[in-house]
């Protein structure tokens, strides 16, 4: 069943201000609902002060609000304790922290780490700064765009020091069977397991205890929240062992010019005055998503994805990249003899925002043997009309270059 009217759309001012906009790039970043915009504005207008330090009540209340946000994140991903929730800039920073504060201190020359062919640059480059190229093993993907289980098992035999995988591929849309992969790795390796959750958290419930990952990373801006804030979840024992990545104010117990001692996690990883306003936005987007519920979000996204898949069948020379049976509402594609950049420009003329390029996944482009792809990605505010307009525009692209 495809609903004609999507009431959720009314929550997003961008669509009032650009009635013609067909926004199909939610994988890059999501638009923001009034609830998030208002929460941030209200905090800055009514409650703004620094946190942790102020003895005055305004600061005390701001501190309490940040704590409430941390607890909201804890509940959102079902962490054991709010102390396991570190506020960071986003997924990229979270992975950089793990690479520098964890891997850097435990890796030896004989160790390897395991990644996959479908990783975002954010889950490749930070590791490359710590280990040499021959220490990075890469799990293959199958032609349908899934992780190759046999290859994963084979590469687990090396007993990698760390395994870092994406929960959902930002290009192929594949939802990896993270829980099963982790269970297998736990049984056959001693690896520390990192999950890049950037593309998962906005579309499905995540339970870090059930998954049993060691670290889980995500960004608020892909979750209908603000940029500049994200989460590094880590098991407390691990966070406690790690040395901080940045140092400065807010993360120390005692400072003298001879020596300083660090506080406990999460403060240990949050040097400096944090993005307080963005933390309020993160809390608000979690509340917003919880109010709608993942069940409803998935109903919308999957019915639109199905419509999209059905309608693109009529397009000539259209290749879909990523045909797993377990997919998020992300469609990467190529059209024969038409470069993705040309597709993007023509779509833009029709006010349709889609992403074209390598999607920060150049190794995956190489694996797919394409220089770039075009990508349509669906969010909870999209409508059946958006999909129809998009496919009509794609027909125009094909005709234009015929």
């Amino acid at each position: 069943m495809i609903q004609k009217k999507n009431n959720i759309r009314d929550d997003f001012p961008i669509f009032k201000n650009h009635p013609e906009l067909v926004y199909l790039d939610s994988t890059a970043t999501t638009q923001k609902p009034k609830a998030v915009i208002n929460a941030m504005t209200a905090f800055v207008s009514d409650d703004y002060a620094t946190i942790n330090r102020g003895i005055y009540s305004l600061s005390y209340h701001a501190t309490q609000k940040c704590l409430a946000a941390r607890k909201a994140v804890q509940n959102f991903i079902n962490a054991k304790s709010e102390k396991e929730v570190v506020f960071v800039k986003g997924t990229t920073e979270a992975i950089n922290i793990i690479a520098n504060s964890y891997l850097n201190h435990v890796i030896t020359d004989s160790d390897s780490i395991l990644l996959s062919d479908m990783e975002h640059h954010a889950n490749i480059v930070p590791w490359q700064q710590i280990v040499s190229p021959n220490q990075i093993k890469v799990c293959n993907i199958t032609n349908s765009g899934e992780l190759d289980w046999d290859d994963f098992k084979k590469k687990c035999q090396n007993n990698p020091k760390l395994i870092s995988l994406t929960h959902v591929s930002n290009v192929l849309g594949t939802i990896n069977p993270i829980k099963e992969l982790i269970a297998y790795a736990r049984e056959h390796t001693d690896a520390i397991i990192v999950i890049d959750g950037a593309q998962a958290v906005g579309h499905m419930a995540v339970d870090v205890q059930d998954l049993d990952c060691d670290f889980y990373c995500f960004s608020a801006h892909k979750l209908y929240g603000p940029t500049g804030i994200g989460v590094l979840y880590g098991k407390y024992e691990l966070l406690d062992e790690m040395t901080p990545y940045q140092t400065g104010g807010d993360m120390i117990e005692l400072v003298s010019f001879e020596q300083s001692t660090f506080t406990k996690p999460p403060a240990k990883f949050e040097a400096g005055t944090p993005a307080i306003m963005e933390i309020m936005g993160l809390h608000a987007c979690i509340n917003y998503i919880s109010t709608i519920g993942f069940k409803h979000i998935q109903e919308i996204e999957y019915s639109l994805y199905e419509q999209l898949i059905n309608e693109v069948q009529s397009l000539k020379d259209f290749t879909i990249h990523g045909e797993s049976n377990h997919k998020a509402a992300i469609l990467s594609f190529s059209i024969k003899d038409i470069h993705p950049h040309d597709i993007g420009t023509i779509m833009d003329q029709e006010h349709i925002a889609i992403r074209v390029g390598h999607h920060c996944a150049q190794p995956l482009m190489k694996r797919l043997a394409v220089p770039a792809t075009a990508r349509i990605s669906i969010g909870c505010y999209n409508t059946s009309e958006d999909i129809s307009k998009c496919v009509t525009a794609l027909k125009k692209v094909v005709d234009f270059f015929k």
């Binding site: 470069h339 993705p340 950049h341």
Partner: protein, 149 residues
């Protein structure tokens, strides 16, 4: 704005049937042009004889704008003296970037004027020209790489 201003018929035609889509062998100058953002990727190769472009070709892959640009660039420059080539290069870059560009003596290349209105596409049109510039100016080392972003 009309798409036809960007994708002029001539551009579409040169995209389909690019001229001088080849490697010049032997060549005296060459350079690799790469646009990391969208993956446009070409090698421009040139043979200069007595200060004249004796032969010029480009090879690789990319969008319609970049490919047509390579095709029309090579067609325009073949048999021309180096001074003319460098002057045309400057005029072309002006044409696709400056609002008050004078487009005299650019011949067919004026079909790229519309690109100016699509800021994210300017680098597509400019890529092969940047590679050409690099090939001719950095004569000492063959097979350089230039990137446009």
């Amino acid at each position: 704005m009309s798409l036809n201003k960007l994708y002029e018929q001539m551009i579409l035609e040169h995209n389909k049937n690019p001229r001088n889509f080849k490697k010049v062998d032997p060549c005296t100058h060459s350079s690799h042009g790469h646009n990391p953002l969208c993956g446009d990727d070409y090698v421009v190769s040139i043979r200069v004889k007595d200060g004249i472009i004796d032969d010029i070709g480009f090879e690789g892959m990319g969008c319609a704008i970049s490919k047509a640009s390579g095709s029309l660039m090579t067609e325009t420059l073949i048999g021309k003296p180096i001074d003319f080539v460098l002057d045309t290069k400057d005029k072309f870059i002006n044409l696709v970037t400056e609002d008050d560009a004078v487009n005299e003596n650019l011949g067919k290349l004026v079909v790229f004027e519309g690109v100016k209105k699509y800021p994210v596409r300017v680098k597509c049109a400019a890529l092969v020209w940047r590679a050409l510039e690099d090939a001719l100016i950095n004569t000492s080392s063959n097979n350089n790489t230039v990137t446009t972003e």
